[in-house]
């Protein structure tokens, strides 16, 4: 399969990236290159092979349920562009 220019624009919009037509063409070519690679890999017979979520056979270590983080709001908000009443302020969003 290969991605159409519309597919590229849609993916860019989902990722909130604005592409010029030239950039879209370049990105499209790169992405289609990756898809060709995937197509090649799909030629391998994977019948009976379970999909894997990680390259190694290791599993997640669990943490004890304990509160270990102190309040460091002042420190974090010192690097925020704008705060008020303890809140981070962002451009208005209403869905």
């Amino acid at each position: 399969m290969s991605l159409s220019p519309e597919d590229i624009q849609r993916i860019a919009r989902l990722a909130r990236i604005r592409l010029t037509e030239a950039e879209a063409a370049q990105t499209g070519a790169q992405l289609n290159g990756i898809f060709r690679l995937i197509e090649q890999m799909q030629a391998v017979d994977t019948t009976g092979v379970a999909p894997m979520a990680h390259a190694q056979e290791v599993y997640q270590r669990l943490r004890a349920d304990a509160v270990t983080e102190p309040n460091r709001r002042e420190l974090f908000q010192a690097i925020a562009p704008q705060t008020e009443a303890g809140l981070y302020l962002v451009p208005k969003v209403i869905e």
Binding site: A53, H54, Q60, D65, F76, L89
Partner: protein, 499 residues
């Protein structure tokens, strides 16, 4: 045309861990904004999530409680979307391999039991909160809630009415609070319901197009929202329109649902396994430990109340409507049974009568817990945990009914006095002189006096007016200030009038 409603629910339950699912920040409700949002919750560069054992344990408990399949290997995935209260740009959730799959929850609809299938339950993190009030035209973001562990429980479209949906939501609420994985506080958002609703002509196999009602935070709103949505969809279809798949919000002020977004605008979440988290493996020891920690479940208690204690399905269902209520009830039954045995031991070779006695005590306790006690709690807006009369005290009062000291009516008076804080049942009976009069000699004396003073009623009775008898009983009860044992009064009065 006859229409059939089809409903499936997705419920977000907030888990009762102390810390967040992927960070060591506190999950306590009501803190100052952003004081419980650490570097991981803020998605500062370089941070990594570490999974909270407490969240995994609670999910396992839920899976065991609904007889589900636990995925021994389950995987966290990224659900990608942009919103300011989601600083990472993705929510860590589970997609292809959730921790819990294919369980069941029976619900009570009227007299019938119906089994609702649960498709899956997966662990995920909550997002932060956006405050759209005026901050100079900007939006305020509080990330305290970001990273709070949620178990999202998804049902099959097995419900056929708003009533069934509410029954399922209540049964689920009861179960998650019963096993202690969720505090169930709906005002604080600990239990949030999304309802997928569609309609189809009766007899049609294929489902109609569904609309999803988001974020219902009370059982009443759930019922109202579904009722409105169903009426709206049927009207649309009968007017020749088609239903567009969409997400809608319920407005409690108008009682209506309104469109939030259509399918075309719907997100494409581009799920993929989160490379920051390894697959989670559930080992046998952990599962066995969780199984051992599970209390007796509501359905098991219900079955036991019916089989061993002879309660009706309705009573058993009501009494297992909350764990605290069931435990209160059981303490009353046990205390009462023990007291009866002490006062009145079973004779040698009559051990078989124990079961009958137990049933009697259970029935009496059930009547009082569901009647007087629940009524009074309701009136005062109290929870069973805040009852002003403890189970042992109530058992002591009921014991005085069983041993004939109190009539039902007097017992209610004593109950009210206990509720008012006047002390234990025996002390109140003593102080108020409420002891039931069961001495035949004394009752006879009262009857004689009443008969002498009510010659007319006696004549009427002898002339065949049965009503006159009741009037005489009333007079005797009144003369004894309500203390005379009514059964004895009846018997003695009959004897006297016949004689």
């Amino acid at each position: 045309m006859q229409w059939e409603t089809v409903i499936g629910l997705e419920v977000h339950t907030q888990l009762t861990t102390r810390s967040k699912i992927f960070s060591g920040a506190s999950t306590a409700f009501g803190a100052e904004p952003n004081t419980q949002a650490c570097a991981v919750d803020l998605a500062l560069p370089g941070v990594l999530p570490v999974l909270n054992r407490g969240a995994v344990e609670r999910a396992i408990k839920f899976g065991l409680a609904i007889g589900a399949k636990l995925n021994r290997i389950n995987v966290f995935a990224r659900k990608n979307y942009f919103y300011p209260d989601l600083p990472k740009g993705y929510q860590i959730s589970q997609y292809e391999l959730p921790i819990v799959e294919a369980g069941e929850l029976p619900i009570q609809v009227g007299d019938a039991t119906k089994v609702i299938r649960i498709t899956r339950a997966h662990l995920e993190e909550d997002a932060g909160k956006s405050l759209h009030e005026d901050f100079h035209g900007m939006t305020g973001i509080d990330l305290n809630r970001a990273g709070t562990p949620l178990l999202e429980i998804v049902s099959e479209p097995d419900m056929r009415s708003a009533k069934e949906a509410v029954a399922y939501a209540k049964a689920l609420h009861n179960l998650v609070t019963w096993i202690g994985i969720c505090d169930g506080n709906m005002q604080e958002g600990s239990f949030r319901v999304d309802a997928n609703v569609s309609v189809r002509p009766v007899g049609q196999q294929a489902f109609g197009t569904r609309r999803e009602i988001k974020n219902l935070n009370s059982f009443r709103f759930l019922e109202q929202a579904i009722d409105y949505e169903v009426r709206w969809q049927i009207e649309q279809l009968e007017d020749g329109h088609t239903i567009q798949q969409a997400t809608v919000l319920f407005d409690p002020d108008t009682g209506e649902t309104r469109m939030m977004r259509t399918k075309e605008e719907a997100h494409d979440y581009r799920y993929f396994p989160d490379p920051d988290l390894l697959p989670v493996r559930l080992d046998d020891d952990l599962i066995a430990q969780m199984q051992a920690e599970l209390p007796e479940l509501p359905q098991a208690k219900q079955a036991r109340y019916q089989a061993d204690w002879g309660l009706s399905a309705y009573d058993a269902g009501t009494l297992t409507g909350a764990r605290a209520l069931a435990e209160y009830f059981e303490t009353v039954v046990e205390t009462l049974t023990k007291a009866t045995l002490t006062r009145n031991p079973l004779p040698e070779g009559e051990a078989d009568k124990a079961a009958a006695r137990l049933r009697e005590s259970a029935k009496l306790a059930a009547n009082w817990v569901m009647g007087e006690l629940s009524g009074t709690l309701n009136r005062d807006g109290l929870d069973i945990a805040d009852s002003r009369i403890g189970p042992a005290s109530l058992a002591a009062l009921l014991g005085r009914i069983q041993d004939g000291t109190l009539s039902g009516k007097l017992a209610k008076e004593v109950f009210a006095a206990m509720w008012a804080g006047e002390g234990e049942a025996d002390a109140i009976i003593e102080a108020r002189g409420l002891k039931q009069l069961s001495d035949s000699g004394e009752i006879e004396k009262i009857i004689d006096a009443v008969l002498a003073a009510n010659a007319k009623s006696v004549e009427e009775f002898r002339a065949g007016k049965d009503k006159a008898f009741n009037a005489l009983v009333g007079q005797v009860m009144k003369a004894s200030q309500g203390r005379a044992n009514p059964a004895q009064v009846n018997a003695l009065l009959k004897k006297k009038l016949a004689g």
